[in-house]
């Protein structure tokens, strides 16, 4: 098993919708289920249906997993704030403290004493510019005959220079090459919405990362749906988020995913919490299987609290 930290450098704006019918809202991080779906869809374009079914089986057996993608600034990586963890010693005001949503790796795992608060991020270095900008712009459709127009608004997230998103990927040696090729294709195809306008394209850099064994307390870095064997008592601190959305398929009309309540990134769990991948194929859908990715991506967290 190898772990890679994959650094995405976006070459175009990114649109990740999260609310139905609202194009003018965009998320600025990418959740693990979206990343997994992007990789799998590109894999199937490159290698065909049978090989992709194999890859999904590997993922179900735990030989391939991804985390959600969070911000990076140069070589400073941010993690989701562990739920319930206290950062009062870095900021003077408890009202500021509760705004923190993302924490620098150095602060979480290193021994940095000083920290700076930028928006909702706790950073090692003081940073003047924004990590990202969300821009809303009007677009319109024109009637082909009368030229009557219909105006609507879309939002996109544009990352600043040297900023972007990163995620962790674990995979067994024999499937790594296929996955990296798929991510390379995903970079050209784009991730998220409005891809045919060139949105969501990226260049990437896989950096090999050491794997630490999970311990008593672990930080969840992906969205997670517990499986039958996972004990609910193992959830120490957690948030729950609702995920709906649409199924992306090259073979079918637009269909919805079922509504899932998933454990959010930043939750803290005890021991080996696995999560699962749920078969979410709609009833009248017989082109291929549809899955909802909910495997837990855990890293150990030394923390008394």
């Amino acid at each position: 098993m190898k772990r890679f930290r994959i650094k995405l450098k976006f070459t175009s704006p990114l649109h990740i919708g999260y609310k139905e019918g609202a194009f003018n809202l965009t998320e600025t991080i990418i959740h693990s289920d979206t990343i997994f779906s992007g990789i799998i869809n590109c894999h199937s374009l490159l290698y065909g249906k049978d090989k992709t079914d194999n890859l999904i089986n590997e993922a179900i057996n735990g030989n391939f997993k991804v985390s959600s993608a969070f911000y990076y600034i140069n070589d400073e990586y941010l993690y989701p704030r562990p739920v319930g963890m206290n950062f009062k010693k870095y900021v003077d005001d408890f009202k500021k403290e509760k705004k923190i949503n993302y924490v620098s790796e150095e602060i979480l795992f290193g021994n940095t004493k000083e920290a700076y608060l930028k928006d909702n991020m706790l950073l090692k270095k003081d940073m003047k510019k924004n990590v990202y900008n969300v821009r809303e712009r009007p677009r319109s459709t024109l009637d082909r005959i009368t030229n009557a127009s219909n105006i609507f608004y879309t939002s996109t997230c544009v990352f600043n220079e040297d900023c972007g998103l990163w995620f962790f990927m674990d995979a067994k040696d024999y499937i790594i090459e296929e996955i990296i090729s798929s991510i390379k294709l995903l970079g050209d195809e784009g991730i998220g919405g409005d891809r045919t306008y060139g949105y969501g394209q990226f260049e990437f850099e896989p950096l090999e990362h050491y794997i630490e064994d999970i311990k008593d307390k672990n930080l969840l870095l992906s969205l997670c749906i517990p499986n039958e064997k996972d004990k609910v008592e193992d959830l120490i601190f957690y948030n729950i988020v609702e995920r709906g959305g649409y199924i992306y398929s090259n073979y079918s009309k637009v269909k919805r995913h079922s509504l899932f309540r998933m454990i959010q990134e930043g939750s803290i769990v005890k021991g080996d919490f696995k999560g699962c991948i749920i078969d979410d194929t709609p009833e009248d859908f017989n082109y291929h299987k549809v899955y909802k990715y909910g495997r837990a991506f855990l890293i150990p967290l030394d923390w008394e609290g």
Binding site: L45, D143, L185, E189, Y197, S249, K253, V254, Y287
Partner: protein, 277 residues
Amino acid sequence: MKFKEISLKGKYIIDAKIELLTGLHVGTAGNSLDIGGVDNPVIKDAMGKPYIPGSSLKGKLRSLMEFYNNKLVPNQVVYTVEPKNDDKENKERAKSGIRMHLCNDENCEVCNLFGRNHGNHKVIINNNGDTDDLNLEDVIQPTRLIVRDASLDESSITKEMQDNMDFDYTEVKFENNLDRITSAANPRQTERVPAGAKFNCSFVINVYNDDNDTYLKEFLTALKLLEDDYLGGQGSRGYGQVKFKDIVIRFRDDNYYKQGQEDKKMYEYKELSEVKF
């Protein structure tokens, strides 16, 4: 329900320069009301430089191809925005909806290249504007064309041009309309990117199954059509005439992704008139 497995054979990457022969105005909403400011700003990126959004380019190319291939006929035109007031009179209906081409023909050049919206649509079945439901179940395919935002080539706006312009990258044009009886003036100002500016544009055409270069040809036809039409707003008043230059077409097959091979340069043209397929 049909099932035909789709596999990616490769991608054509088309890079070109768009040269403006006349001023270009791709409008946006102004977010401030400055006194003495421009009424009609052009769209700019985060660095304050004007650019051509991929959606504007793609929408224009699509609509040109619909006319060129004679696709705007009954049974092939849908309402993208449903008429708001559900009037019983069809004439009223047709007035308020936005119509464009979308069809369930498996070999439709326009839909296959520019993509289909797989939602529920109402297709117009006769000249009175009567509608019927459109079923796209059998013709689902991924969209082949990707159009990127075209960024401004800064060097194309020379120092000399900047001296004569109101802003760093754009000029402001005053226009006027006159009352036909009293000759009272009603002036307005429009911001536009000056003629001579160049944009770097990039397109991707995905090649699936046995497409070969069918859609590349279609696409190059669309570019030719655009040269004789206009981009952005106010085109019938002379804005937005463009010319494509230095067109380089490369091909990336699946080995580019699987084994890290270099992509192949297939064609190179100085301008579109050289293109002969």
